[in-house]
């Protein structure tokens, strides 16, 4: 009897669920109706609802366009093999399409070509930007010559250098006090921002850290991550390394792994790993795990964008920023440049099925205005991201968010996406965040002037590829980066040191075709880019 009751209850529950399911779907749809446009955006749960964000409300008010936002988390979005096939949406914000996707969707008319709308009437701001910046226009072009996406432009001169090296000065002081030979030649007065050490000095100090603080992580970073990776360490051997192992050196697209300096760096890292100066977590952790682990001051030294998020407030002053490590053999300092670009190509796309493309584009064109760009990038004035009063006509960021950290505040309140923030905007309309200014200062005073590569190396810009070139890249590049990283990590953690022949045979030879093809295609595209931007 009891059993049958339970069964009945269960069945009832299931039936109710089944009945509510279609209702829920209806409800969702109802809410959707009556809006002029529906835009899909990629957003994590922690970010506030765009529909209630003041910046979007004022945008809607000013343009007279009513936009309803629906969401995908980045995980959902990545696993959707055909995002433009989603029914009932007019545009995708944070689309993040690859060149190949843009081309494919554009060719099929699934996303709209924007060329005919880039006029004084529909998109005055965007038109002005493209006229003033031929490099951006060039970057946005698809192989068929059309523009299919709205870009994100945030030029601060920070992204090419995604790493800074920090070190715990209190621990060095301990070494000096104990007359440890590792700290010989270093005075306490030297222990301030801009500390300059050779790689062997630095190694000695890390060994000292390890001896004094058994459970510490002498050198921490996140392997393969876009920021805070090991690239600068490898660069110090005289090769312009970055997370993609691919750069432009003296006008030539180059794979850093082909340089013997790169091999030597891996060999050295193997040794450091054996001495426990680098720990295994460097190769397995995510950004968040790295940040969580560093809070209690366990890192002797680390590579990261800045130090504020890595260590907790009361320990921040213990860490100082260093100059790039000095190569013992040459006495020079080298830093590679990342390929993280300040112009992101496909931040927003309009679907071909959108009924009033001009209307929606008029709305998005407003995003390029400095005041809106700033609010999209940092949070709205109403939410407290900026002071309410402009100073000299400039929006001034508000640094005080109470108990919230600046990062947390921004994560919750800023939608990011389509913005246009350039040198001109920083000078006239928006004051740079103090954190960004500080970082820029550090780069200008401690990194850029010492970088021997500053004239010979540049980041790979947004290049335009033909369909054939895109095919070649997708065939080879998908696995190439993985193969390189895999070889590298395996050698670092192996019990025996890597040999030259292993490097030549198992890395260079077996990936030769892939590297040659990727280099060839990129070189051709780069030369076209140079020609196009020079003539314009």
């Amino acid at each position: 009897m009891k059993k049958s009751k339970i069964f009945t209850a269960l069945m009832a529950a299931v039936m109710c669920a089944a009945a509510v399911f279609p209702l829920a779907a209806c409800y969702y749809k109802d809410e959707d109706e009556g809006h002029e446009f529906t835009v899909l955006t990629v957003k994590e749960e922690t970010v506030k609802d765009y529909n209630t964000m003041p910046v979007f409300r004022s945008l809607a008010k000013e343009t007279g366009r009513d936009v309803y936002w629906i969401y995908n988390t980045s995980m959902q979005y990545q696993n959707n093999s055909d995002p433009v096939g989603i029914k009932g949406i007019d545009a995708i914000y944070h689309a993040g399409f690859s060149n190949l996707q843009l081309y494919n969707y554009g060719r099929r008319g699934k996303i709209a070509a924007l060329d005919s709308y880039i006029t004084e009437k529909t998109m005055p701001n965007f038109k002005r930007i493209l006229d003033a910046r031929p490099d951006i226009r060039e970057a946005l072009k698809s192989p068929d010559g059309h523009i299919y996406s709205l870009p994100r432009v945030e030029e601060m001169g920070l992204k090419a250098y995604p790493n800074l090296l920090f070190i715990n000065k209190v621990w060095i002081e301990e070494l000096i006090d104990a007359n440890d030979p590792a700290a010989s030649g270093i005075e306490k007065e030297d222990l301030q921002d801009g500390l300059r050490l050779t790689r062997s000095q630095y190694k000695g100090i890390l060994q000292g850290f390890k001896a004094n603080h058994g459970s510490c992580v002498p050198l921490a970073f996140v392997h393969g991550n876009w920021q805070g990776n090991e690239s600068d360490f490898i660069s110090s051997f005289g090769v312009p390394e970055n997370a993609e192992h691919k750069t432009i050196l003296n006008g030539q697209i180059t794979f850093t792994v082909e340089s013997e300096a790169w091999f030597n760096a891996v060999k050295e890292m193997h040794e450091w790993y054996g001495a426990e100066l680098i720990t295994s977590s460097a190769f397995t952790q995510t950004q968040d795990e790295f940040l969580a682990r560093g809070q209690d001051g366990r890192y002797g030294s680390f590579y990261w964008w800045e130090k504020d998020t890595v260590v907790s407030k009361d320990l921040r002053d213990d860490y100082i920023v260093m100059q790039p490590l000095v190569d013992d053999a040459t006495g020079k300092q080298y830093v590679g440049l990342s390929n993280e670009l300040e112009v992101e190509k496909s931040e927003c796309v309009i679907l071909g099925s959108c009924k009033d493309k001009a209307g929606l584009l008029k709305y998005f064109d407003k995003f390029f205005e400095p005041d809106y760009s700033a609010q999209l990038n940092y949070g709205s004035i109403e939410s407290g991201a900026f002071l309410r009063q402009k100073v000299d006509g400039k929006l001034i960021p508000n640094d005080d968010h109470g108990r919230q950290s600046a990062d947390d505040f921004r994560m919750k309140n800023a939608p990011y996406g389509v913005v246009y923030l350039t040198q001109e905007v920083w000078e006239n309309s928006v004051e740079m965040e103090s954190r960004a200014k500080l970082r820029l200062e550090r780069l200008e005073s401690y990194v850029k002037p010492y970088n021997e590569f500053k004239d010979s190396v540049r980041s790979i810009p947004n290049l335009n590829y033909t369909k054939e070139e895109l095919d070649i890249l997708s065939r080879y590049e998908t696995m190439l980066g993985k193969n390189i990283n895999s070889w590298m990590v395996n050698k670092i953690i192996a019990s025996s040191a890597p040999s030259l022949s292993d490097w030549q045979n198992n890395l260079l030879k077996s990936n030769k075709t892939a590297m040659d093809e990727v280099k060839r295609v990129n070189q051709a595209a780069y030369e076209r880019y140079l020609a196009a931007t020079a003539s314009a």
Binding site: S81, G85, K110, S280, S474, T478, M479, M488, N490, I493
Partner: protein, 348 residues
């Protein structure tokens, strides 16, 4: 009942002469039943089709029971199969599978896949991962089921059974998270060993054991259920008889239980051999690091990278997946054929 025994008697007394035979049968049927369809002239040429029709009329409604399964298989297994056409195309995201401007490239995608310098590494990695998984994972639930079944205390048996199959319900992501906490950086083992001691997620040689043993730990209890079900069908009288003959408990497992579930074992074995080259990509990708990629890059992760990646080539991914499936079908047929020859058991 009466009629039936009459027939039996009649047939038993049939004379050798064939003509006589016919006559007698005719008489016998007339005696049995005078209806039209049972008359000898009709009965003599009942085509297969007629019999099928008659059968269908009487019992056809039973077929309705397989209808849901059939619809399921058609919608979810057969209908999507047209997607394999992508393997022969230069397909881009958003393309229709067959359209006016579809670019057919023949076997190009396959030759790209086979000429990949790492092709053999993907192939052997897939095979070894699945093969060892099979070697460990196939007998384990059988042994567990046999042992559970011979437990005398029913409550203990039930308790253990629940204990064994509960891990099955842990989601993969949580499962891999647990593994990382135990075997990963700063995990239990790593901390215990000190320094860069036992970070198993970076070690290529540790990937397969980790993958296989965690998988089996999670699923052996669950897989044992089907054998337990088969064991519950064993006639207790057989056990009684064996006991009377003085068979020990161990002996009874081998002589009563095991033969009883042998058909189930064979059937499941054929099915698992058919899956010998397919281990899903989800767990592998969750467990993959740059350190263990040497052993953890398998065909299905290749399919994932090319099929779903933004810069990928869906055609190439599909071709690799199709190649994998073809091998699986071949293995299935071979396994089935072998079992038919050796054990006289097969799926078809």
């Amino acid at each position: 009942m009466q009629n039936h025994s009459n027939t039996a008697v009649l047939t038993a007394e049939l004379p050798a002469d064939a003509a006589e035979n016919e006559k007698l049968i005719e008489q016998a049927y007339e005696a049995l039943d005078g209806t039209e369809e049972n008359k000898p002239e009709n009965r003599n040429k009942p085509s297969k089709w007629d019999r099928w029709k008659a059968n269908f009329k009487r019992r056809g409604w039973i077929l309705l029971f397989i209808l849901p399964a059939l619809i399921y298989v058609i919608i979810f297994c057969y209908a999507p199969m047209y997607g394999i056409l992508i393997a022969f195309q230069d397909y881009g995201q958003g393309d229709p599978i067959i359209g006016a401007d579809t670019v057919w490239v023949g076997f190009d995608n396959f030759s790209i896949f086979f000429s990949d310098p790492n092709f053999w590494s993907y192939f052997t990695n897939t095979f070894l991962l699945c093969f060892f998984g099979f070697v460990v994972g196939f007998p384990l639930p059988i042994i567990v089921a046999l042992l559970l079944n011979s437990l005398r205390a029913k409550k203990v048996k039930k308790g253990l059974q629940i204990l064994y199959y509960a891990p099955h319900f842990i989601s993969l992501v949580v499962m891999v998270g647990m593994l990382k906490m135990i075997f990963g950086s700063d995990g239990l083992l790593d901390k215990w060993a000190g320094g860069n001691g036992l970070e198993l997620f970076l070690k290529p040689e540790a990937f397969r054991p980790l993958f296989i043993f965690s998988g089996n730990w999670q699923d052996f209890g669950w897989s044992a259920i089907i054998y337990l079900a088969a064991l519950s069908g064993v006639d207790p009288a057989l056990h009684e008889a064996a006991k009377v003959d003085g068979a020990s408990r161990f002996r009874r497992i081998f002589s009563v239980d095991l033969p009883a579930i042998a058909p189930t074992i064979v059937m499941l074995m054929i099915l698992s051999i058919g899956n010998l080259m397919s281990c899903g990509y989800e767990k592998v990708i969750l467990m993959q690091t740059d350190g263990n990629r040497v052993t953890s890059e398998i065909i299905s992760t290749f399919v994932y990278n090319f099929g779903l990646g933004a810069d990928g080539k869906p055609g190439l991914g599909t071709a690799a997946g199709l190649f994998n499936s073809v091998i699986n079908v071949a293995l299935l047929i071979i396994a089935n054929f072998t079992s038919k020859k050796l054990a006289n058991q097969s799926m078809w």
